[in-house]
Subunit: 457 residues, 2 copies
């Protein structure tokens, strides 16, 4: 497909950029209209690429895009999953360019060309590779599988509407494998295939002290400060060994065998480079586990946001009424998100001192999952990537979450295969998200080759 890419490059950029320009931020109500606009754009691109049909279908939330090409009713069907919604771009002041004005720019570290913009990688850039690999296979008469596309608009907020919609559309979604590019590989020198992802529980907490903001001079020292109290409560959520101190949190965690841990340890990892990339002097995490294990096979708890009191310019002497935080827990098999969310909410309310009131709101959740590595699909992906990268990809465990894929396994009985071409340097979810052109093109090639090696019957 190399020649095809070379011949159509500029058109690919034009098409992808037209999708990236739409600020399809699922977390923000104000962007509602952008969601449908983005879905419609993708449906058009699918039809232009050669799909028999492509439609924007309503769900209880943002619409999904569904498209299909039936080559042979007896052939195997590949379901391509992706999401067209993106993370909020904030903090805006840290972006080098407008997040929704995509450009081709040099990678700050290496000078290699990359696509810059929110969604360049996660997941508009990655799902776009599938449309173009499909277009190439069809145009060159090489497509032997049936292909279905499912692009949703709520992945970044935990796919609240998709499970119900999948249940109502089981027949339409029937397929043999679900191909997903929404993850990273270890590095562009060390390709990897994800064989599992973590689940997620995301909550927002609110701690209220006095019923109004107070003058910190008149009341300071005599009335509990809700910020200090929230800080104390957050501090108590980890023990001295870096373990999450929510009772019952580890009860169902699957402990890996020595053999499995040894296999994961084969993935190359350079702690010095890792620390340099992040500019930190030391890593920190659960005692007794390596950095890769801490993100791959162990659950964790993070504060994703905190706010309270005066946060503007200068000095305002206030003892505030409320303080808030957003808490995310990454889960591993067999922790159930719904159960962990309940455990956390119960614990957080229990540890609240008498001088404050605590509210806990569930935001998002999803279970983790594992992927069998001996399958036809895994082997086809491995062979495809070996040819493109010249090295056999290693199996790896992703630390992130795609909540809906566990649901898909349960509802549709389809295993996902995670061929992700993102890199750590892409800073997805952060300012200056980008996607290396070399990965963008290697991804398309790998996907096209996957179809070549994945049995069509």
């Amino acid at each position: 497909m190399k020649e095809y890419i070379e011949a159509n490059k500029q058109r690919f950029f034009d098409e992808l950029f037209s999708v990236l320009r739409i600020p399809s931020i699922s977390a923000k109500a104000a962007n509602k209209a952008d969601m449908r606009r983005c879905a419609e754009k993708l449906a058009v691109l699918l039809v232009e690429a050669g799909a028999d049909e492509a439609q924007v279908l309503s769900t209880d939330g943002n619409p999904v895009v569904f498209g299909s090409k039936i080559i042979d009713p007896k052939a195997r069907t590949v379901l391509v999953y992706g999401h067209y919604d993106v993370q909020p771009p904030e903090p805006l002041e840290l972006w080098r360019t407008n997040p929704f004005e995509p450009v081709l720019g040099p990678d700050p570290a290496t000078g290699a060309k990359a696509i810059w913009g929110r969604g360049a990688n996660d997941d508009k850039g990655q799902l776009f590779m599938h449309i173009k690999a499909f277009e190439y296979l069809l145009a060159s008469g090489k497509l032997k599988h049936n292909v279905k596309f499912l692009f949703e608009g709520e992945e970044e907020i935990g796919s609240p509407s998709l499970p119900k919609w999948m249940k109502e559309n089981k027949k339409m979604l029937k397929a043999d494998i679900c191909l997903v590019s929404d993850t990273t590989m270890i590095s562009d020198k060390v390709p990897s295939i994800n064989c599992g992802m973590r689940g997620l529980s995301y909550l927002e907490v609110k701690v209220t002290g006095p019923n109004k903001d107070l003058h910190s001079g008149h009341y300071g020292g005599a009335v509990a400060n809700p910020i200090t109290t929230l800080c104390e409560m957050i501090s108590s959520l980890h023990d001295a060994d870096g373990r999450v101190a929510v009772p019952g949190f580890y009860d169902k965690v699957v402990e890996l065998s020595k053999k499995d841990r040894a296999m994961l340890a084969r993935a190359p990892f350079d702690l010095k480079e890792y620390k340099e990339f992040l500019d930190i002097e030391e890593v920190k995490g659960e005692k007794g586990y390596t950095t890769l294990e801490r993100t791959g096979i162990r659950p964790c708890l993070d504060v994703c946001g905190i706010w309270g009191g005066y946060t503007g310019e200068g000095a305002k002497t206030v003892l505030p009424s409320v303080a808030h935080a957003k808490i995310s827990m990454r889960l591993v098999p067999n922790q159930r998100s719904a159960e962990i969310t309940k455990l956390f909410a119960k614990h957080f309310k229990k540890i609240a001192p008498k001088y404050v009131k605590v509210e806990v709101k569930e935001c998002e959740g999803g279970d983790g999952f594992l992927i069998p590595i001996g399958s036809d699909a895994y082997k086809a992906a491995s062979r495809a990537m070996t040819e493109v990268y010249g090295i056999e990809p290693v199996p790896a465990r992703g630390g992130g979450s795609i909540a809906v894929l566990a649901e898909m396994q349960k509802i549709l009985g389809i295993d996902p295969l995670l061929m992700g071409f993102g890199l750590e340097r892409d800073t997805i979810h952060s300012p200056n998200e980008s996607y290396l052109l070399s990965q963008f093109f290697a991804g398309m090639e790998s996907i096209a080759k996957f179809y070549q090696y994945y049995p069509s019957k």
Copy 2:
């Protein structure tokens, strides 16, 4: 002066409201022009009230207003101090009315009329009482003292420019007593006169973890979260007894004698009412001290603001790069603000774990002070308020800080006298600041009577 108030009420409101409408927020650079506008307005009001002269004078920061009326070079001179700058109004969504569109509204609790708006009390409303008491005394031929007015525009940010300016203008500021209305009394049933105020050290801290915001799935559990770290550091700033855990913090604190504590305990205080007013189940503070002592004679540490990570709508799964907090310490005699600020900064950097970087920025500071209660001025104020309120005011210790008054004692050798007419219910520094009309008028009367009982020679 009662009749004079009755006859001129509407004009008083019009004049005061024209001052309240100017958003003279000293903490915000954007309001720079408003500062001078407000100062000029006040100079005009001073001249209209009968001052010989009133000028807007430049300092290194916001201008001061200086006005004077020399009745008799041999008579005693009263220096009236006030400030025309106000606290930022945020959070705006909690205001019932526009903070800079003053109105007369009913007090939510009692229905009694009050002036609503930022600065209604602190300190535009209170300094305005002095202008009107002066106008009345002059108009009725009763003024026997020389009067000087000094209104500054940086009190809410710690008066950074005034000390230097006072040093350069000692002669012009010469006076026998400095009269200040910028504090509260215990209640309108229990008038009080402040005989001391706390000092202040205000700092901003910044904790940096990784050099960019990270995907909380890819890094969560392996990289220290700066919010969690900041929370842990903040938690460690108090010990189990509610004492500030900064080494050396209490070294110079003056411990009060049993007799002095017993005198302060005479101030009426109802813990049940206090808790109901704030809607809290329990108070919290340093072990071994009462609530009034905790705010009056003991130092404390508060977090006035905290922010970091994603604080918008919905769920963003980010492991943020930085977290910030604003920390205020209220100080008592003989704690020196400059020294405590240094101790805090040193300690906070020392307790920073290796996996984060910590920056500490000084924002504001000032020493506390005590006022002799046997003086002519104290007695005159006490007699004046006894007549107006029908009860002898009790001496009280204010928990707040007016940093510059300690400087004034040192530079000009003038003792302040704090006749404050604010009430707790006024929620100064908070949304819905207001000032009860009954206090506004009782304040004017008390001030006019002060001149009557304070010896003029």
